[in-house]
């Protein structure tokens, strides 16, 4: 373009276009990125170190803070890992409630993503709508779990409290409302010629390299590869519910956006099915006194499909009342560093924030 000399541009940590608190150091020639480097650590709280001082139950309150926009998959994965180590059974009702909660979490996170994806391209109206409507999901969470963001609800053995009275009706109503609103969103975003123009052909992840690069979740399905932990290794009640995993070819921001658009619909359908089929019975298989609760020695590697893709917890127990090691593999761990550094060169700087949002880079997941 006009100035063809190389400059270094720091995208973040204080920058409206960055997701969370991280930094992408860009070498820029004109408007084109020639080299990108991710710098993280601004949100490093040393969770995995702190867990050394906390017992199995206390860790659970800490772990949901790994990634702020979606604490529930973290809780769920940790709970499942501990259950696997202990061989603890989860009541059927708890499985359904967990499924509902994780899908609600998926929807709320996607609504936030709508805001991020459109906001990073300057379409603030959609963000105002979707993030505003996200509050209705958070209201559901509040009724169910007692908190808006950090629910701390799915703990080893089941869930913490049963569904409150009238919650199921409220959930149905919210789903109906959201479905109506989704058409509005899609008209504004996906039918928008300018958005199509912006999103198509940007930030392409090659299909043949995607798995090897460690791409997971919507970005992987955006390349046309159908992998989803909910199908590969079904957990909770997913094997009893009908749903489709959407895939789109292309591997660009547009394909990823379409995948997410379809997934939100699938989530609504899963929630409806789960609410229909919700079994009765107990919701919580009581754990022993938390201060003296020991978990048999062993290791567990448990995966869950979070909003941004597959996350896993590697949990090691040495038989004491504290975990030996709880190591999170977040979806953003590969996305935010190696994948980002590979696909950013050659892109326009206008698209950096756009791509960051479409990959769902969540820095606290990288540095923890």
């Amino acid at each position: 373009m006009i100035r063809e000399q190389e400059t270094t541009l720091y995208l973040g940590p204080q920058h409206p276009g960055i997701t969370g608190n991280m930094m992408v150091k860009l070498k820029v020639k004109g408007d084109t990125v020639i080299k990108a480097e991710t710098h993280v650590g601004y949100l490093h709280r040393a969770f995995e170190k702190l867990i050394e001082n906390r017992n199995w139950l206390q860790s659970f309150t800490l772990l949901c803070r790994f990634c702020v926009p979606e604490p529930d998959p973290m809780e769920l994965t940790y709970a499942r890992a501990v259950e696997q180590l202990e061989g603890r059974e989860v009541p059927e009702r708890a499985k359904y409630i967990r499924t509902i909660v994780s899908e609600l979490a998926r929807i709320q996170s996607f609504l936030l993503w709508y805001g991020g994806q459109s906001g990073s391209s300057g379409l603030y109206t959609l963000g105002q709508w979707s993030v505003g409507d996200r509050n209705y999901i958070l209201d559901l969470f509040e009724d169910l779990t007692g908190a808006r963001i950090y629910h701390m609800y799915m703990w080893p053995g089941g869930v913490r409290r049963d569904l409150p009275e009238g919650w199921i009706d409220k959930a149905y109503k919210t789903m109906d409302y959201l479905e109506k609103r989704l058409t509005d969103y899609n008209q504004l975003l996906f039918d928008n010629a300018i958005f199509q123009k912006r999103a198509q052909g940007v930030g392409i992840i090659p299909k043949d390299k995607a798995i090897e690069w460690g791409v997971v979740g919507a970005p992987l399905r955006g390349t046309g590869i159908k992998h989803d932990v909910r199908i590969d290794e079904p957990y909770e009640a997913y094997d009893q519910l009908k749903f489709v995993v959407p895939t789109y070819e292309g591997g660009d921001v547009w394909a990823r956006a379409l995948v997410r658009r379809d997934e939100i619909k699938q989530s609504i359908s899963i929630i409806r099915q789960a609410l229909d089929k919700l079994p009765g019975g107990s919701y919580y298989n009581r754990i022993p006194n938390p201060m003296k609760w020991t978990v048999p020695a062993g290791e567990a590697w448990v995966k869950t499909e979070s909003v941004r893709g597959e996350i896993g917890f590697y949990v090691v127990s040495d038989g004491s009342n504290k975990p030996r090691r709880v190591h999170l593999k977040g979806a953003a761990y590969a996305h935010g560093v190696s994948v980002l550094e590979k696909i950013l060169p050659g892109q326009n700087i206008a698209d950096v924030s756009f791509i960051l949002n479409s990959l769902g880079v969540c820095p606290p997941e990288i540095e923890r």
Partner: protein
Amino acid sequence: MNDIIFKIGGAFLTAILAFTVGMFYAGLRRKITARVQNRVGPPIYQNFLDLLKLQSKRTNVAHGFMGHMAPIWIIIAAMTVLMFIPILQNNLWFENLTLKGDLIFLLYMMVFGSLGMALGAGQTGNPNSAIGVSRGLSQMVGFEIPFVMALVALMLQFKTTSIADLMHFQFTSGHWIILENPFAFLAALLSSLGMFRYSPFDIVGAPAELASGPMSEFGGKYLGTMMTGGAVFAFIKLVLFVDLFLGGAGNNSVEGIMGTGLGLLELLLKTFLFYMIPVFVGLVSPRYRTEQAIQFFWKWPSVFGILAILWALYKNGTLL
């Protein structure tokens, strides 16, 4: 002597009017935006408070001489341009400086403000500002071409380079230029989207990309002054479009202060309606990339511009 008093008084009044209307429109825009976004939004006078607050900042950091100069440059440019825009037709107060060739003069002067900003931003050393300036200049190259084409079409069609003459023509003939040369209007309208720098053409200050671009390092008084300049410029653009295409304002036969009032009312109505076009477009559009924006301007607006010139030539008989 009276003439001079009217001129000077008129200049003051124009300045105040431009500032007030510009700021109110910005507030109105925020309110409308809020309503489209399903929310209440700030009070309509919010921008005045913002400005007052910015001006009352206790510290103001500037980066070098141009850092000081840029806002002043902008406000000077705005005022200068304002003085050459006839606000109301046939009105002693709001006629302002009219001279032959002011259309061409305006074309130059309107770039002048951006230039000051560019120089000021360049001195801050912030890479975001630098990139923002380069984007701004690129975009300007984009929208100026169809805009100039539209103006040239008008000049050719009506054989004049004076805004006052164009207004006079519309007044006397009763035909607005929007109908006389619709292609010129379309070209100018589309390039006006770029001039207002709302979505999809807010690429200069794009927050998610460049923080706020050239403005990154300006705060306090400097930012406040720039806001004032921006508000005045917005008014200028609106009035210019109304003057050129929508028949101007003040075309009434009522005498005295009432006439002026009615004229102003007409002006407000027309400018507001015209203003809603970029606002609404901005509300529903994501941002273009720089090269996409330029492509856009060089595509349809430019086609309309060429058509406008051809139309003008056809109209005044040169073509055939």
